[in-house]
Symmetry: C2
Subunit: 383 residues, 2 copies
C-alpha cells in the first residue's frame, strides 16, 4: 500500500450518442455528448470496473491532475488513484459528466442542433434515473456488462442507489455515502430559495441569458452561499471561523466584518464565475425529485426490492443536510429485503462536506470494503 503514488494524467474523452435518451418526464433528449474519464486498466474478464457518480458541482474529472498542476486535481482525488482507498492499480474507474451538467456534456449551455441556439430554458429537466440510463449507455460503449461497484456521495449516492434498483444484474456492490432516500421538506426549501435567487436575477432572462451575453452571477452567488451553509456543520463553522473579524474591529456597515462573511462571498463569487446557472437549477431539481419510495406508497423497502447488490453505506455525525438517520432509513429498508449491508457512521465535525475529505477512519472503511471487492474480482478473473 503506497498512498502517495502519482495518478497518471487522465485524458477526458467525448462520447457521442446518436440514439435519443427517453426521460422520466416523457421528454426525449435527442443525440447528445458525454464527457468521460477513466483511471486504471479494465481487466481481461472486464470484472473490475467502478463507476463513480458525481454530485452537484463535480464532473467526469474524478482523479488525477492535468499537466502536473495540483490545482486541477479531480474532485475525489483523495479517494481514487493508485494506492488510494479505491486503488486504480486494481480497479478500472469511470467518471461520467452527467447530461445537464456544465463540464462538457450536453446541457443547457450546449447548442440544440434543432435550433442552432443554446438549449437554455428549453433543456429538459432530467432526473437521477435519467442519469443512470445515460451512464448505462457509457458502460455499453466501454463493453462493461457488470460493475464491480457503483459509488457516489450525496446526489452521487442517490445515483448509486438508483443503479442498484434499475440495473440489478449490472451491479455487484453499491457504495452510497452521505446520501438520503429523498430530500426532506427543509432540504427542498433550501433548494427552492437558491433557485429563486437565480430565477429572479434580472440577468437570468428566463434561462436564456446566453443570448444576452450575461450570466445571473449575483443570483448564482447567493445560491452557492446558501448551499455552502448547508454543507458545513454549525460546529465546523464555529471551529473554522467563529466570530472572528476580518479587520479586527466592527465597521458599522454591510461590508465584510466577519471572516465567515468573507469566506461565503468568496465561495459565491468563485462559483458564479465557472458554473452554469441553468445547470444549478437542473441539479437541485433532480435532488428534489429523487424519491424511489414515492411509486410504492412511501415504502422504501418495496422500492429497493429489485436491488441484488451488496451495499456499503456511510454517513457523518455532523451532517445535517443528509443526516445519519437518512442513511439508516436506507439500511433498514435493505435489511428488510435481506440484503447484505455494511454501514459506517463516521464521527466528524465537518458536516456534509466530510464525504469529500481525507478523514482516516472514513477512508479506512472504504479501503477495506474495496479490498474485499478486489479479492472477489481476482477470484472471478481466475474462474
Amino acid at each position: 500500500m503506497s498512498p502517495n503514488l502519482p495518478t497518471p494524467e487522465p485524458t477526458p474523452q467525448r462520447m457521442v450518442f446518436d440514439a435519443p435518451l427517453p426521460l422520466q418526464s416523457g421528454a426525449v433528449l435527442p443525440g447528445y455528448e458525454l464527457m468521460v474519464e477513466t483511471y486504471g486498466e479494465l481487466d481481461s474478464a472486464r470484472s473490475n470496473a467502478v463507476l463513480v457518480c458525481h454530485a452537484l458541482n463535480a464532473s467526469h474529472h474524478v482523479a488525477g491532475c492535468y499537466g502536473d498542476d495540483p490545482k486541477t486535481a479531480g474532485w475525489w482525488d483523495n479517494m481514487i488513484g493508485p494506492g488510494k482507498p479505491v486503488d486504480t492499480r486494481r480497479f478500472f474507474v469511470i467518471g461520467v459528466n452527467n447530461p445537464g451538467s456544465c463540464f462538457g456534456s450536453t446541457g443547457p449551455m450546449s447548442v440544440d442542433a434543432a435550433t442552432g441556439q443554446p438549449w437554455g430554458s428549453r433543456f429538459p429537466v432530467v432526473t437521477v434515473e435519467d442519469w443512470v440510463d445515460a451512464q448505462a449507455r457509457v458502460l455499453d460503449r466501454l463493453g462493461i456488462d457488470r460493475l464491480a461497484a457503483v459509488m457516489g456521495g450525496s446526489l452521487g449516492g442517490m445515483q448509486a442507489l438508483a443503479w442498484a434498483v434499475r440495473h440489478p444484474q449490472r451491479v455487484a456492490h453499491c457504495v452510497a455515502i452521505a446520501t438520503a432516500p429523498n430530500l426532506s421538506a427543509q432540504n427542498i426549501a433550501f433548494n427552492e430559495v437558491a433557485r429563486r435567487a437565480i430565477i429572479t436575477d434580472p440577468d437570468f432572462h428566463g434561462g436564456d441569458y446566453y443570448a444576452h451575453g450575461v450570466v445571473p452571477r449575483q443570483g448564482l452567488s447567493v445560491a452557492r452561499m446558501i448551499g455552502h451553509i448547508t454543507y458545513l456543520s454549525d460546529d465546523a463553522m464555529a471551529l473554522k471561523f467563529g466570530r472572528s473579524l476580518r479587520g479586527g474591529a466592527l465597521h458599522y456597515g454591510y461590508d465584510v466584518d466577519f471572516q465567515i462573511e468573507s469566506y461565503l462571498r468568496h465561495q459565491g463569487e468563485k462559483f458564479s464565475g465557472y458554473f452554469d446557472a441553468n445547470t444549478y437549477l437542473l441539479l437541485t431539481r433532480a435532488l428534489d425529485y429523487f424519491d424511489p419510495a414515492a411509486a410504492h406508497d412511501g415504502d422504501l423497502a418495496a422500492a429497493l426490492r429489485p436491488a441484488q447488490a451488496r451495499f456499503l453505506l456511510a454517513s457523518f455525525t455532523s451532517d445535517w443536510r443528509f443526516s445519519p438517520e437518512r442513511s439508516r432509513e436506507i439500511v433498514r429498508a435493505l435489511l428488510a429485503n435481506r440484503r447484505e449491508v455494511s454501514y459506517a457512521e463516521i464521527a466528524s465535525p465537518y458536516g456534509h462536506d466530510a464525504f469529500l475529505m481525507d478523514e482516516p477512519h472514513y477512508h479506512d472503511v472504504v479501503r477495506a470494503y474495496f479490498e474485499r471487492i478486489a479479492q472477489e474480482c481476482q477470484m472471478e478473473a481466475r474462474a
Copy 2:
C-alpha cells in the same frame, strides 16, 4: 383566570425626542420619533411596568386588535392581555418600535430633516444597546423608574439581557426567551446571505431605492425565505409539509411542485410587500453585532456581572437557530455570578418560531413567573 377576555383596542402613540441619541458606532441619531403602545394601567407606585422588546419583523403593536379586526392582532397577543400569561389587568405593558424599524419609528424610510430626503443608506447602523438606550428614554417619558420586568424573545431577548446589564437598577426581572449570548458563525452566515440577496438586487440602488420609486422586492423575498427556513425546525417542516405536492404530480420545471415551495414563496412575497429592506439589513446587523462578552475577552459571566435582576430563561428543544445550549450558556454565566435564574427547556417540534406560539407548557411557565412578579408588585405597592 379568564384567558378569553378581550384586550381593549390599543392606541399607538408617537413620542418625539429632540435630544440626539449617541450610538455605539460613534454616530449620533438626531431628533427622532418612536411609536409606542401600552396595555393595562400603571399602578400608583409605578411598580407594575413590563417592557416588551420586539424581534425582527415586529413592532410596538404587541397585543390587541385595531377596530375589532382579528387580522390586526398584536405580534404577542397570545402572551399579553387580560387573563393571559402576562396579565394586563395586573401589569402595565409597554411596546416600543425600535429606531431603525419600519413601523412608524424613525428609520431608513423616514425623512432626514437635514436633507429633506429619506435617510436610506445614510441611516446609521444601530445596535441592541442603542435600542435599550432609546427605550430607557421612553420609560423616562412615561415616568417609570424601574421595570417589574423586561421581556423579549430572540432579538428581543437580547435586548432584555442588555437592559439587565446596562440599567441594573431599573430592572427587577429579566425574561429572555429563545435567545443567545451572541450569534454563531452559522447564524451570521444566514444573515449575510440574506443581506447579499437584498444588496445585489438591482432595485436596491445602494439603499436609496425610495428615490427610484422601487423596492428590492425579489432580494427581500429571498431574504425572508432564508429566514423562514431557520425559524422552523426540520421536523416542523416535515410535519407541516413533508414532500406533499401542490398539484398532485411533478411538473418537470421550476415552478411550484412542492407545498413547501408554495409556502416559502408566499411568505417571501407577503413580507416584501410590507417590510423595508434597509430595516432588514439593519436588524440583521444588530443581531450579528450583539456580543456582550466580546468586551470581556469572551467571558460572558464577566459581561453579565453588573446585572442585578432575577431571570427567567426559556428555550425550545427543536430551535436550531438559538438552540437550548445557547440559553444554557447564559444560565451558567448568571449562576457563576450567583444570580437567581429560572430556566425552562420546553419540548416543542416548532423550532425557533415556538416562542411566538401558544404552547401550553411554555405559557404556564411564563404565567407562573409573572404571577410571582405580580405578588411582589402588590407587596411593593402596600409597603
